[in-house]
């Protein structure tokens, strides 16, 4: 299957010019650090501390109050502009997800700074906030509200969502009666309804059966193509090659290649 055939083409120049005209998205990290305090760990000098230091990705230390601290990101400098497609590589625990969350605005850096122009949309946890006891329709409004869609706008889109997800009459049924694939299809259809300005992804999304995947890949490819800035964390260098025009590598919270 031509996995990302739609995005192989570089972003068309005309489109880029058009977008630049409307808004300039950018992400600027200056020496950003993220230290997680671990409150329920005993002193940092125990045996556990040494064992954990060997086992985890982030470096450990302690902060001025004597709490154990995991340094998830250290001194990250990054300057992303309109049209950048950044691939983030690195082993487990390197800080990829943390970086994505810093960019999404979940974690404010504990040191350094971040400046983001533009609205960040994260396609990481597609079914976040969905409720298995609620019907498909209710979930559309619930999930849609979390994505920042207004109720009125959503109600004009319900049909389109149901159509795209291929849910049919099941839309009136509680989500728990759906198969896992159906749930994911619905979640995907809601999440990709609007064109994001800055898109953050953890691995390339693959959703549903063969038939749906083709549709989904096409829509995702379209979105990725039109988005101003893409940041995608992945373990797959070929994906980076296909989708991205920039790449960084993280290891133990430190940027090792730019």
């Amino acid at each position: 299957m031509g996995l990302h055939h739609t995005i192989l083409r570089a972003v068309p120049l005309a489109h880029r010019l058009l977008v630049i005209d409307i808004a300039m998205a950018s992400i600027l990290l200056k020496n950003a650090c993220v230290d997680f305090p671990i409150y329920n760990s005993s002193t940092g000098r125990s045996l556990k501390y040494h064992l954990m230091q060997a086992a985890t990705g982030g470096l450990m230390g302690s902060n001025e109050q004597g709490h154990v601290v995991v340094k998830a990101l250290h001194d990250i400098c990054l300057d992303l502009k309109e049209g950048d497609r950044l691939g983030v590589l690195g082993p487990n625990g390197a800080g990829k997800s943390t970086l994505l969350r810093v960019i999404s605005g979940v974690y404010a850096p504990t040191g350094g700074s971040i400046e983001v122009q533009g609205k960040v949309t994260s396609l990481i946890d597609l079914s976040l906030g969905m409720d298995s006891e609620s019907t498909g329709i209710e979930n559309i409004f619930l999930r849609g509200a979390l994505l920042g869609y207004s109720r009125r706008w959503l109600s004009t889109k319900v049909e389109e969502i149901v159509d795209f997800a291929g849910i049919g009459n099941f839309i009136e049924m509680p989500l728990r009666t759906y198969s896992t694939g159906m749930q994911m299809r619905l979640a995907f259809s809601i999440a990709t309804l609007q064109q994001p300005e800055i898109l953050v992804m953890d691995e390339w999304l693959t959703v549903g059966d063969a038939e749906f995947q083709e549709k989904a890949q096409q829509r995702l490819g379209e979105i990725v193509k039109k988005t101003s800035i893409l940041v995608i964390a992945t373990h797959s260098p070929p994906l980076v090659e296909q989708v991205c025009n920039r790449m960084i590598k993280l290891e133990r919270g430190v940027l090792i290649t730019t």
């Binding site: 997680f36 409150y39 979940v106 994260s122 409720d131 006891e133 609620s134 619930l142 509200a145 979390l146």
Partner: protein
């Protein structure tokens, strides 16, 4: 230097709160969802709370009305409103404590104004309050009393009460995200205040000297009185209003500064 720093904290705190208020629709959807989730597949839904509240009021009314020798016609409306208001206050504050910790998955995944999670708690409890409020006209009908002319003033009182509960819930939410023992302390204190505050006993039964401690110095008394008094046909005292308004202003200023300082730490504490 000091002053500009304070100003920055205030701005940071206020920006989050303002964005949350602007996207009130989200808090509304989440709050309704909580109610729906809790009562899904039960045929009466949140009215079960109303029923159990009604039963509780009946039982307490019987015991304490007789105990304090208060005329039922006065005592029962007093008890009804007091208990319904106290339920709103205590659950809003108790659930405010877990407002952020309960939303951990959401907070760690997407960037929303964090005050939204507190608004959700407040909205959910306001919905339950409105369900419970149905008991009040029923009590009026039972004793064949008409709605007092002052009743509309209770709406102003309720708004002020909610404004006060908002900063309290937010402050507690931040605090409890960091210190996980606090919710337990708060639950305990609220239980104590339930007995200290005139809810199941009328202020008239107090000896004069106890007034100062249990009424004047008790913030919950003022918070309840500004809503309860108009519904019982009297006006809240000037002191009730003053304390209520002063608490709202001072509480919010402090909370916004505090929130501005610690807002960005909340995600780390969860």
């Amino acid at each position: 230097m000091q002053r500009s720093n304070m100003f920055k904290l205030f701005k940071t705190g206020w920006r989050d709160i303002f964005t949350a208020l602007k996207s009130y629709e989200l808090a509304g959807v989440l709050g309704w969802q909580d109610i729906r989730q809790r009562y899904r597949r039960s045929s009466l839904g949140p009215f079960w709370l109303t029923i159990s509240m009604g039963v509780l009021i009946g039982a307490l009314g019987l015991v304490f009305g007789n105990l304090f020798n208060s005329p039922m016609k006065e005592f029962l409306p007093f008890l009804t409103i007091g208990l319904i208001l106290w339920t709103l206050i205590s659950t809003a504050l108790n659930e405010g404590c877990t407002g952020f910790t309960a939303a951990e998955a959401m907070i760690k995944q997407i960037s929303l104004p964090l005050f939204t999670h507190i608004l959700r708690v407040l909205w959910r409890n306001l919905i339950i309050f409105i369900h419970n409020l149905i008991i009040y006209p029923l009590v009026l009908i039972v004793f064949w009393v008409s709605l007092p002319a002052t009743a509309s003033l209770a709406i102003v009182g309720l708004v002020l009460l909610m404004i006060n509960l908002s900063w309290m819930a937010l402050l507690l939410g931040v605090f409890c995200a960091r210190f996980r023992d606090v919710p337990l302390i708060v639950a305990n204190l609220l239980q104590v205040f339930f007995y200290l505050t005139p809810i199941i006993w009328m202020p008239q039964v107090l000896p004069k000297r106890a007034n100062m401690l249990l009424l004047t110095a008790n913030p919950f008394f003022h918070m309840i009185e500004i809503v309860r008094a108009p519904l019982l046909g009297t006006l809240p005292s000037a002191l009730n209003w003053q304390v209520g308004i002063l608490m709202a202003m001072a509480g919010w200023v402090f909370t916004i500064l505090f929130y501005g300082r610690f807002r960005s730490r909340i995600a780390y504490w969860l």
